[in-house]
Amino acid sequence: MTNEPLLRMHNIRKVFSGVVALDNVSLTLERGEVHSLVGENGAGKSTLIKIMTGAYMRDGGDMFLEGKPANFRTPEDAQRAGVVAVYQEVNLLMFRTVAENIFLNREPCRFGFIDWARMNRETGELLKRLGLNINPKATLGSLNIAMRQMVAIARGVSLGAKVLVLDEPTSSLTEKEVGILYEVIRRLKAEGTAIVYISHRFDELYAVCDRVTVLRDGKFVATRSLKGLERIDLICLMLGKQREELEKKGATAFDEHQPVNNNAPPLLAVENLTRGRRLQNVSLDVRRGEILGMAGLLGSGRTEVARAIFGADRTETGRVVLNGQEINARNPNEAIRAGIAFLSEDRKAEGIIPDWSVRENLTLAALPALTRAGVVSRKKQNEIVERFMRRLGIKATSAEQKIRELSGGNQQKVLLARWLCCNPKFLLLDEPTRGIDIGAKGEIQALVNELAKEGLGVLMISSELEELVEGSDRVVVMRDGQLSAELRGAQISQDSIINAMAEVNQRLDS
């Protein structure tokens, strides 16, 4: 049995209502190994993880834990067997203490009463073992996101995890916190725990992982040792392209950039936006027909810039000038009337009204224009809906279908249409293609491109570097609430953007 890996998944298959999400995917984990799982969005990483941790049932294939068949029906099943996932959005209890979160449902008791002293002591020991300096009695909500994540990991460890899945563990961490995480990983590794590490950041993969498994479109591509694997080759595996091809041609639907007249007056000028520490003196301008890309890590203030321009958050200082007129919107309504549109990042929480039809969702922002004496013209509404459903190629059984029944890509198109039918002058796009299928992604990118050509100004926030590199005429980078770099023309490359984003938090130490 010594040769049997800790966990073996063989020819895993998963189908969602007729669509194959995973097709014959295999993965093996050795004891004490940090194994990276990579692939583009939609490659099937999260589906595979959910099958591994009992959140989904597989439709085909086998799974063995320590050589024995493993069939987890629920996450609790998997946890009991020692397979634990720590998700990006930490699912813990904010008002409860660190110790309570770690020992929830397994609280040490004496004579039926909780033994708080023992619980706190054991939590302290556990945290110390992981090299973490966290007070067991602190409420979770008083910790920052990074430490909450460490608590989640500690809980997994205390459950006796043999396999620990970390899904994008660093997306909201500072460099220093990443260092703490690495230390925790190192210690767990030494104890023989296998770790599945999902991240989009190559630096991290090379820093902590031993092997990598690449998935693409729900299919298994390769498992390689990271040592000796060149980055460019890894990217080629992920994209399914030859090396030469990648160096030549882009992967997105954006055209070649058209030169924008640098001397033209700006369509939108933003000066000195400041809002506490989240935004500090942010100034930028965008010309007619220009797509200004905005990069930055989560929490760098990129979304806050868009929200401030749109009037969704109040700022302490700052001016917003559109078309030579100062607007300084105090609420979204004013910004919309001035001709600004904002496609927000969180489609579900901030975009769609799930139980409403496509028609109602699409015309929500344009309602005032369709209304006379308080009465909405159904005729005009239908005209607009028909026009934009056709123009954007929105796929729905009818305009009356509920939007929540649509695919993510089509929901996003409806939301984009919601703004376009208001005839905006300026578009704020926050992660316009996040989490949607490849096809819709290309269509939206092409549409944004076309809109810019028609003379709109666009501020496009994205964490997908290739989208920024290929889609933007200029790129600005946010860091800690400030603009840290502006890149133009030939300066724009994935490397240069990463460099500008990555000099994180060095000033904080001083």
Binding site: P75, E76, Q79, N91, L92, L93, M94, F95, R96, E100, N101, L104, N105, E107, C109, G112, F113, I114, W116, L132, N133, I134, N135, A138, S142, L143, N144, A146, M147, K176, E177, G179, I180, D509
Partner: protein
């Protein structure tokens, strides 16, 4: 700076908190206590009769029934739920006890409390299993239990003969010639409630459920069991309150208890337990009950003002406390 030190600074000591935020935090959790102390001080200065053990015990006794119900409501609200049915359950318990008194005092008390616990359990089962909002389920139970009580009594009240002194003792008895039995029951119930919430798994799971039910589920809690438990507790305490009331009145009255749920919710919220669940405790509920009770007492002592201002003041206090809590929570 070493890494360990850096971690400490970043985490446990967390963000530097301003003085205002600290005061805010204390006020949010202890605002009612501060207010209670202030009101009591003012009352002591103004009315000689206020600070006498007789008057204070009287305040406690008058509020023992709403206090018991508020205790049960605290459990429910901590999970993020609500229980509107307590008033009807109180009436039901009184009537059941009145019918059962001839079979002995313990049969009467246990029978009454068992009946309301059972109906509380039904609330919990429907909420947990059918996934219908607590507001609606307990509204339904409020109406149904009232119907039940009116039906079995033929819309009359059920007299308890004076001869059943053992039972009357539950509402009118004195221990050591000064401590009213209802007050003792109230204090015991709060003590038990405090231990359950702080020192048992069930109690901690009540908090966990109200904190984030989805996370609690993912962390492996049996949410249904906890939910059913809190509504059963609320039912049981409403029943106990009903028993005390019947013993005091010497009758099980089928129309008692209408609106008591609102008073109990008000006391819980005034005490500082958030309706969203997960935060608060039974002691703050006791403070909330006392604060509202003392204000009622002051109206009696004053004697001049129309008693109809009393609900106005109660409503205004509830509003003010909620608004202040809300502002302070934002400040944090």
């Amino acid at each position: 700076m070493s890494q360990a030190e850096a971690t400490t600074r970043d985490t446990t000591e967390a963000r530097p908190r301003t003085m205002a935020a600290k005061i805010g935090s204390v006020m949010q959790s202890q605002g009612a206590l501060v207010m209670l102390v202030v009101v009591c001080l003012m009352a002591t200065l103004r009315y000689e009769a206020f600070l006498t053990s007789e008057n204070l015990l009287n305040v406690l006794r008058q509020n023992s029934m709403v206090g018991l119900i508020a205790l049960g409501m605290t459990f429910v609200i901590l999970t993020g739920g609500i229980d509107l049915s307590v008033g009807s359950l109180l009436a039901l318990a009184g009537v059941v006890a009145a019918y059962l008194v001839p079979y002995g005092v313990f049969v009467a008390v246990l029978g009454a409390v068992a009946a309301t616990t059972l109906l509380g359990l039904v609330n919990g089962v429907i909420i947990a299993k059918a996934k219908i909002p607590p507001f609606i389920v307990t509204l339904g139970m409020m109406i149904a239990a009232r119907g039940l009580v009116l039906a079995i009594t033929d819309e009359k009240s059920v007299r308890i003969e004076r001869t059943f002194a053992d039972f009357i003792y539950w509402g009118r008895g004195l221990i050591g010639d000064f401590l009213p039995v209802p007050v003792l029951i109230l204090l015991l119930a709060f003590a038990v409630g405090w231990v359950v919430l702080n020192y048992t798994r069930f109690g901690r799971h009540v908090y966990a459920l109200g904190d984030n039910d989805e996370a609690a589920r993912l962390l492996g809690l049996n949410i249904s069991r906890t939910t059913i438990g809190v509504y059963a507790i609320s039912g049981a305490l409403a029943g106990l309150a009903g028993v005390i009331l019947a013993a005091r009145l010497g009758a099980g009255n089928s129309v008692e208890g209408a609106g008591v749920e609102l008073g109990a919710i008000a006391a819980v919220v005034v005490g500082g337990t958030l309706l969203t669940g997960g935060q608060g405790n039974v002691l703050s509920t006791l403070v909330g009950v006392l604060l509202l009770g003392v204000i009622f007492n002051l109206f009696n002592l004053e004697g001049q003002i129309s008693p109809w201002w009393q609900p106005v003041l109660r409503g205004v206090i509830l509003l003010v406390v909620v608004v202040i809590q809300n502002r302070l929570t934002k400040l944090k």
